[in-house]
Amino acid sequence: MYKKDIYKIIANEPLTRDVWRMVLEGDTQWITHPGQFVNIELEGLYLRRPISICDWDDRSITLIYKVVGRGTEQMSRMAVGTTLDVLTGLGNGFNEAVECEKPLLVGGGVGVPPLYHLAKELIARGRKVSVVLGFNRADEVFYAEEFRALGAEVYVSTVDGSVGVKGFVTDAIAEAAIDFDYFYSCGPLPMLKALCGATKVDGELSFEERMGCGFGACMGCSCKTLTGNKRICKEGPVMKREEIIW
């Protein structure tokens, strides 16, 4: 189920040069799984902007977004106290209840945020959680400490080697010889593809697409899978690896 409601910005600050964290206050009862997203109406833009949910509790939603265009640029200029019209509880999200002992969470860049509440849920279920976070450079890294504070084993890779393992997330997984029996991932398509190429373990991955409505009405974000046509916004954004057509 999903819902449209008004939320108040209670925090909005930069984490890096172009990645921001915004905290909204309001009704969160429609959010049921980590990896779901919200769709935000912004003044002067026609379509809403879909942003993944990083974390939530009884009355707040944390969003982490990268400034990539007019919508997110506008969000970064919004003052605390501003209200937003938001659709919440969109998308299927990750299945945090999968039977596994040592899940691996792999995030690339702004694909990292939806894994945060997932890590919380998995640790609460007693899983031994490893997290690999991939970025381009040291000054782009965010949330490594937050994942560590949850009790996860955290590894970082950077393309230029300025912090952590030099290379991609797959290099960090190989170098640390991380032992895992399931994986969850969100990030750029080449990263998701490389990850699936590097492991035979079962897992689920979160995808992105340009959306019209965000709740399944317009068929703007359809994709083909081995289990039939899916809407990224409705039957996705999370897919099981075995249903993906690369």
């Binding site: 833009l45 026609y46 809403r48 340009r210 709740f215 009405a217 359809s222």
Partner: protein
């Protein structure tokens, strides 16, 4: 103290409680919006465009942001007419008790006729809306709707297989909309629906390529409203069959303006995507707007502009 306002209209003998109808392609088969509100407040629903075969549609990205609107290039994704009849319509029946409008697309005259013949047998379908104008599909709907004789041929073929009212949904991407509407009327159309989307394009200047995978798509949203009002006006003046107005409607005031231009019913499209409650809010706002304008019955204002 509350004055009674009459929102009902009649389209070729089909009575609608109010003139507000979600436009095909922006409302699926009703399920998604029904999670936000009880869709029985609507006048009717024009359901997702249906073709003979199942279609995945166009490659993604299919959507582009525009000033005051969006471009879509979905490409008539649908499960095919048989699956729509077997699965989608019965599911819709469970949540929507009123007459619906079946929207049919095709790539040949025979395909239009075959799909309409099947839809004709569905009790809940009370109006057939034949899309001769979708700009998204290569070798597809576009050509039918841009030539009066082709639009007329489709109209005749469809009329031959159904006794239900047939509305032809026209493309605005033509030189003379009146000539095409009149050709449809002469071929037996019971009504005209217009406008479909305007062919548009956006370019991602950073990546130096079109935003839409198919390069071009259909532009809709509030920016097209004046074009829609103009074409509804021209066609309703030139023809003697009812017009369903469509294009950029997003308020009760827009509905009334479209009806004054000549529309008997008014479809709401892109607004359903931006605001899932758009149709419900418009319907709820109509009585106050009628009061403000001194209108007792919406039927009294249809086509009142000279």
């Amino acid at each position: 103290m509350e004055k009674k306002f009459d929102l009902s209209v009649e389209l070729c003998g089909v009575r609608l409680d109010n003139p507000v109808v979600p436009a095909s392609g922006t409302f699926g088969f009703g399920r998604e919006h029904n999670e936000f509100y009880d869709i029985n407040v609507l006048g009717s629903i024009s359901v997702k465009g249906t073709t003979r075969e199942a279609r995945f549609g166009n490659p993604t990205p299919r959507i582009a942001e525009c000033r005051s609107g969006l471009i879509n290039s979905v490409g008539l994704q649908n499960p095919g007419v048989d699956a729509v009849i077997e699965h989608e319509l019965p599911e819709l029946r469970k949540i929507f008790r009123k007459p619906i409008i079946a929207n049919i697309s095709g790539f040949s005259v025979e395909e239009y006729a075959e799909c309409c013949a099947k839809m004709d047998k569905q009790e809940q379908v009370e109006i057939l809306e034949v899309n001769v104008s979708c700009p998204n599909v290569h070798n597809g709907g576009m050509s039918f709707g841009t030539q009066p004789e082709m639009a007329a041929e489709v109209t005749r073929a469809v009329k031959a297989v159904t006794t239900k009212p047939v509305f032809i949904k026209l493309s605005p991407n033509v030189t003379d909309i009146v000539a095409i509407a009149k050709a449809c009327e002469e071929a037996g159309a019971d009504g005209i629906c217009l406008i479909n989307t305007l062919l548009g394009m956006r370019i991602d200047t950073l990546r130096r390529k079109p935003v839409i995978a198919n390069k071009m798509g259909g532009f809709s949203g509030p920016a097209v409203f004046p074009v829609a009002v103009r074409m509804v006006y021209q066609v309703s003046k030139a023809c003697h069959i009812p017009v369903m107005g469509c294009g950029g409607v997003e308020s009760a005031s827009d509905v009334i303006e479209m009806m004054m231009a000549g529309a008997t019913a008014v479809q709401v499209g892109a607004a359903n995507l931006k605001n899932p409650y758009a149709c419900k809010e418009i319907i709820e706002a109509l009585p106050a707007e009628m009061q403000r304008l001194g209108i007792e019955s919406l039927r009294d204002i249809i086509g009142i502009i000279d």
